[in-house]
Amino acid sequence: MSSRRTAAGGRIDRLRTIRFTFDGRAYAGFQGDTLASALLANGVSLLARSFKYHRPRGVLTSGIDEPNALVTVLRGDIREPNIPATMVEIYDGLVAVSQNRFPSLAYDVSAINQLGGKFISAGFYYKTFMGPVVGPLKGTRFWMLCEKVIRRAAGLGRAGLAPDPARYERMNAFCDVLVVGSGPAGLAAAREAAASGARVILTELDPQFGGSANWSGETIDGEPSKAWASDIVGELRDHDNVRLLKRTTVWGYYDGNTLAAIERVGDHKDAPAKGAPRHRHWTIRAKNVVLATGAFERPLVFPGNDRPGVMMASAAQRYANLYGVLPGEKIAIFTNNDSAYRAAVALNKAGATIAAIVDVRPEISEDCRALARQCGAELLVGHAVVGTAGGKKLTGIKVAQFAIAAGALPSGGHNIETDCLLMSGGWSPTIHLASQAGARPLWNEALQAFLPPEAGQGWIGAGAFNGTFSTADAIAEGFAAGRAALDLPRVEPGTPHVEPAPLDPRPAPVFEIRAKGKAFVDFQHDVTADDVRLAHLEGFVSVEHLKRYTTLGMATDQGKGSNVPGLAIMAEAVGKPIPEVGTTRFRPPYAPVSVGALAAERFGDLKPERLTPMHDWHLENGATMYSAGLWFRPMIYGEAGETIEQAYVREARTTRETAGIVDVSTLGKIAVQGPDAAEFLDRVYSNVFSTLAVGKARYGLMLREDGLVFDDGTTWRLGEHDFLMTTTTANAGKVMQHLEYFLDVVWPELKVHLTSVTDQWAGAAIGGPKAREILASCVTGTRVDNEVLPFMGIVHGEISGAPVMICRLSFSGEMAFEVYSGAGHGTHVWEALVEAGKPCGMVPYGLEALGTMRIEKGHVTGAEIDGRTSARDLHLGWMLSKKKPFIGSAMMDREGIVAPGRLELVGLISLDNRPLAGGSHVVMEAYPENPHGSLGHITAACFSPALGKYIALALVSGGKARHGSRAHVSDPLRGRFGPVEIVSHHFFDPEGKRMHG
């Protein structure tokens, strides 16, 4: 297929050719390729343009740490930007495009930014665009001018605008041991834990289990490591107690050993399997976690280290062994440690020529010399790469003598022709998850790396995560971790025999080669070594500040490779050892997570709908519904051609003239039962309930502990120890919780049981001059006259065969009855009542008419009980018992709550005969251009059919004292200003003659 593809080897399926496009050009790869490996096999080295300077970039790594080769994957109109090409598995029809280039990847006009590089160094934005305007080219205003251009020039891929049709789902999982990472250590841990029968979950972010065993080329106890790994995976697959999750990134480690993971179920296919989601989000609760997350190889920082063709040594080894791809034909190696020698041998075996091995160390082991000889490479110890040549593709490197001890800048040097430079700057254990769990990493001088501290929060480390880079030792650690995670007794692990023998894992403490040219630390954010030094010169000493000022490590790769080199350069600048400079704490997510997976099925309208038993009747009878919290309630039952106002005025007027019926099933209802129920109610209500006779109801008021009004409602005494409390619709849940708190925490000795029965009862309130007549015509088993059913009395009877409980109480101010039946009988009873009301012309009425009649009566609801008003503000002071303490009684008389000038409930009448609106302010002066000096505000307004006027309830400073005076309402938003009269809130029938009958 291509000269870059080896003749054999790798885990790709060479019989299955996959066709895809990149930037519109068609390419072919094999099943099992990633986009990166397939493009490398096709000889494509330029994959991206860099963030700030638009420098050409190729593939640097082979995994999730890739900072350079970010692409956008297109599925129809759906754009998925900023995915590392190293993580995209190719499928037939894959369409990928490069990012951050114009007009094309090869000819990007913004590459001119490189020439002006000095001007966009660290802190460019702060220096140029923040602070006061001192000229046309500085300050925040300048930023606003330039923002569009800059945002377009700097940055990553463009997000799509089309709605995402993919399905996402989320799962909860529980296990005894979660093993993160399936390299040799993770596999050993999973096998050991699974053997005991414990519930084990093994996650692997790659498409295949095995980690380094897949590409290291080692043998374990005589068996190729690949086969060793697949044997164990096969064994694990046979266990019922093991769940294997590949393509799954554990991205968050939270308290209580809760871990978050994302499984990429469908991204590697052109379409997800039937019923399968695109991504599946896992919330995993693990008793114990084995972190076997391995390590990342670090880049070396030297001029031109970002040129396409420069790659991590281990990545190249992986491309050769896993995908059968050679990233170059004539390869050079630049290293500060032994591990790159193995990569050199592997690539040589796969068919590449190794031109040179450049090692910064003055002395290297005989083992390494032998490996260099084995692959026929020129060995340049005590040397460093000081520059790279080539445009969009590496053509050569410049090598010079380098002395670590002197720390001298290399000078002179010679050129080596090469098309691929592999670098290795040592290894950083992937401690991100442990760091998220709160562990403070410890600097290990020998390994030149941050290692996890002693295990904590229910996790145990194993393998390279611990800085254990030998496969044999990693397997032994995994074995021990698998047992320790289950508290199994320690067993001396038999260390397996791994060939070839491990090399020395200790790198030389060299992170940067200082020479002329841009040397990149953070490839994705274009942060150079000079930027780090500049930040130090400008006074940044804290590593957290350095990070934010230079944006080092803040790109989508979160500094997986750049963190330690950046820190090392900072430490050198500050003149302190690395551990004293400190490291930043890693935070979730470990790698980008799709928002779709986080939301899963939770999108759109998530509110449940609460419907009363009579809901369907309302709809069938022309009700316009209205959502009140979660409830749906009739607003009006409009007739043809009626406006809302006409409808509610008709409903209210008819109710006051004859009769009306309204659904009150939404009121909160709490059964308060037990020998201490009356005592309990005395404590929670401001008025007394223990004196209430059985078979009677009473209006009650509740305060909060701070003395302000909480809620109101009627409570019915059904028996000596049996009360039915009603609450406002809106506060039903809050009141329940309030009562439960006091009963459970403050007064546990009271023998009271609370049951929410809101949904068990259907309620219909029927009111008006004819209400009693209508009720009498349909109720059996009881009389409903004044004698048997006085005001606030309760009777039991039947309507059309259904048992009902009737309480004579009134919200409308009319002679009225609340008829309660079991919810299942609700519609039946309602229909019987409606039928009985027909001869008198009774109407059903909705919330608007209900509100109108309550405003006419001056009853308070949530608009007035707004959490700021006291009982006295609402003229409910008469309900505050002096005979007993109750919740709020101690605090309700505090200075501020009884101070003069508080907002008090009043009524308003519109004097210009125009509507009033809730939220309008009440002002004294007729000064519409500049309304000021608010006295208060309108809480509720309506047209009153009883008065024939527009009226409102308001909270006004001074309250009662202003009755009879004139003021103005000001509502600038709606352009309303007009005169009103302040009156008593009892607009209609203040003596209550109508309801007492």
Partner: protein
Amino acid sequence: MLITCPHCGPRDISEFAYQGEGGRTRPDPASTDLEAWNAYVYQRLNTAGAHDEIWQHAGGCRSHLAVVRDTLTHEIASVRFAREHGAPAHGRRKPGARK
């Protein structure tokens, strides 16, 4: 975060409703000592470390739980029924005793 409800077992935080700082003493209901009431209603310790708190298992048995939680680590040291443990010493009256 998991809270181990003594009645229902370990449950996810989303099932619980925070009901404020625990260990507060409600003054005698008849007390007019505004200082004491002020302390009870408004003053909070805002502890960094082991913190007494009340949680209701709102999505479960609805019991109130006296929880000791480390506000720095979310580690929960103990969970007990508030009615058995967290009830303040004051603020109680014998059942049935009416003034």
